[in-house]
Symmetry: C2
Subunit: 477 residues, 2 copies
Amino acid sequence: MKSELTSQDPYYQQIAGRLEGLIAAGTFRPGDRLPSVRSLSRDWRVSVTTAIGAYGLLEDRGLVEPRPRSGYYVRARRIAPESLPRRVEVESDPVEVSFDAITEKIMDAAAQPGVIPFGAAVPRNELLPSAKLASLFGSVVRSAGASAFQYSMPPGLPELRIELAKRLVGAGIAVSPDEIITTSGALDAVLLAVTATCKAGDVIAVESPTYFGILSMVMELGLKAVEIPVVPGEGVCAEALAEAFAAHPVKACILQPNFQNPVGSVISDDEKRRIVALAKRHGVTLIEDDLYGDLHFSGKRPTSLMAFDNGSTVIHCGSYSKSIAPGLRVGWIVPGASRYHRIKSLKYATSLANPTASELVVAEFLKSGGVDRHLRKVRRIYARQTHEIREAILECFPADIRVTLPAGGFLLWCQLPEGFDSEAFALAALKRKISVVPGTLFSASGGLRNCFRISCGSPLDDTSRRALGILAQLARA
Amino acid sequence: MKSELTSQDPYYQQIAGRLEGLIAAGTFRPGDRLPSVRSLSRDWRVSVTTAIGAYGLLEDRGLVEPRPRSGYYVRARRIAPESLPRRVEVESDPVEVSFDAITEKIMDAAAQPGVIPFGAAVPRNELLPSAKLASLFGSVVRSAGASAFQYSMPPGLPELRIELAKRLVGAGIAVSPDEIITTSGALDAVLLAVTATCKAGDVIAVESPTYFGILSMVMELGLKAVEIPVVPGEGVCAEALAEAFAAHPVKACILQPNFQNPVGSVISDDEKRRIVALAKRHGVTLIEDDLYGDLHFSGKRPTSLMAFDNGSTVIHCGSYSKSIAPGLRVGWIVPGASRYHRIKSLKYATSLANPTASELVVAEFLKSGGVDRHLRKVRRIYARQTHEIREAILECFPADIRVTLPAGGFLLWCQLPEGFDSEAFALAALKRKISVVPGTLFSASGGLRNCFRISCGSPLDDTSRRALGILAQLARA
């Protein structure tokens, strides 16, 4: 569906123009599915080739996007550059991370029932495959007998590692099940990786903004953080890393290459290749936290950093907390040959074993193809929810708000002009029973005060639309 | 059932003598249940008072032991002092812990099917309440709906913490559910406690011998370990701790006060009181790992160290890995008021959340009384298995072997004369598909080479009796 094939024929353009008119008129709104190629051909009496050509043109213009096995969808309208967050300056010297009491307050609140959970990076209840999981827990646990309740010692259940190894192929990673160690979620994996590569006082590079759980860990381990700016849409670039590696004795670098939390950016394959080569030259270990990678809105899953590593530069970490269910606690680490034994014994010495029943359930869910069916469903929903909530924010917040336009995951990063105090904003929102996470929690150096994160794990319904209205009022105040 | 009441009447003594004769003749063997008071009264035509008096006498002589709601059981015969391990000298200076590759080899082997698991401190499959747990997983997960698959964020599910608080009363601990944080097993809890109190380079006191998981953790955290000798039967004493606290800047001390792994000792209440007072005076935090406390063979559950703490000297850690099932990953920590927020945020920054379904299942299992029924059953079985395996070891091993006589748990600690190489022994045993854990793994300073640990999580059947025979041969070689 290249534009070279289509743009030469004016008939394609005519059909594309009609579709564009319908989108502009609001007949098809952002996130809506457009007529299939087959039905367009039948209903408008055009050839299939013409219909495909028309959609190709609209895709080139950024108006629609294809989603695998699903068809074409209207993209969010406002992708004007002024709606996207600006790149921000970061602290260039390593800092000691410290959090005050606001983190616990925000986290506790996010977990409370009755609070509108824009703060919680979790799928709402209806998006978890609960019935399927409940049935799997019943059947798998019963058929496994007592072994479902014995320790799953490192490296973890073989049947799960086999399924994980198969799935990692889709991320560009070729490993045997024996190269994988299962963990209790991705954060457990990242902790193992950081502990294996850094000791107190060492310098570690982190993204800015980055997930506050990573910053807490860096703080608790007594590491110094050097911030690498995340460019919305592009992620971290090799150039920024090169500066940090040249200026500071960086031991390791934690990156979320795909649908980064909170910015939603994906690092391009070329840039990933450059980053791995650079880290290798500097002897820096790249700790990749790829837990959102399966939640792409369209096309293929983005490649993992480890796919570009032919040595032992990258430690790959992942989990099903975001893509299946948070409460399962099923994650994994691919430490690379040189660090395998070290990380396995670290796992013995820390949380020891993982929940066996969860591992059996996820192995079976993967094996049966159920995970793929689930992912196809939730990707479409997250794409729509994220687009709709973004549009709603742009409509009701002050006009100078900027919001990311992610291509996967379910998080939005919002930026208001300098001077906006997101901590006061978040605390005021909590009083109105709405949770959002202030930008300061995502910064090692306490910056990003004018930003906040909105989770789109729940749909835009009347309640959440009202809540966005309240947030917009608070932002103006 | 005091001896003052009974020993004055010679008729009690006559009945006691007859019972003693039956025990000596092997009619009732160690671990066997003796006739109930009621049936003895009926069958031998004596009064209930006389029967009770006779059993009281035998109990005073150490020949029988009462078990709650179950009756009297024959105690292991050979409790001659020469059958018990000697107290060993320990390294008095703090040491850096280091393990070589043998740990991973032993641990991997212990997990393999087809290996006789004298090395694995786990209940055999038949002793797990699998049918009950499977049914609970089915019902609880179904009725909880999606919430069974959402994060159980720190401090953990309220319904579980309520049940835990109720049960801790039995250990002498009075806390509200809000003072408890749930963890992924006891090791996760101990890691949180150690991380909250020590940093790399600090000195921590550990028992010698002690569970190798604790030593691995001490090594991985870069702490220096000072060894406190565990006296078989008595555990660690305040005097030994006082010496260590006086000589070294000890920050914290990890103790298993009840049915210690591997020695099975219980510290007396008086000594516990002295230890807590001593630690308080020296500003040392006591980290109590009480995961075997519920597995007492008779009488009441021994008291936790925290029961003697009126300040914030003790951090209490526990888990159901040994008493319900290892694979659930349900443990807890009671950090004390002054450390609560620190440990809660450490939990956020490390493994984040626990397996939600497991927490729901254990909460329901506790609430329904099922845990108590299960414990009553397995306590009897562990008592018998431990006694039988001890007897078998004393029979078939070289005569100079010494074996602990635990009053709870399911572990035996065996000691051969100096010069015996338990590492070579364990590796030779592995070749014969039998796992045992060599003593060196239990020592921070690499001592205890003449000792090994035998788990009695599985019964003494023909297979394990043959395996003990092979071990005895290897020990002679």
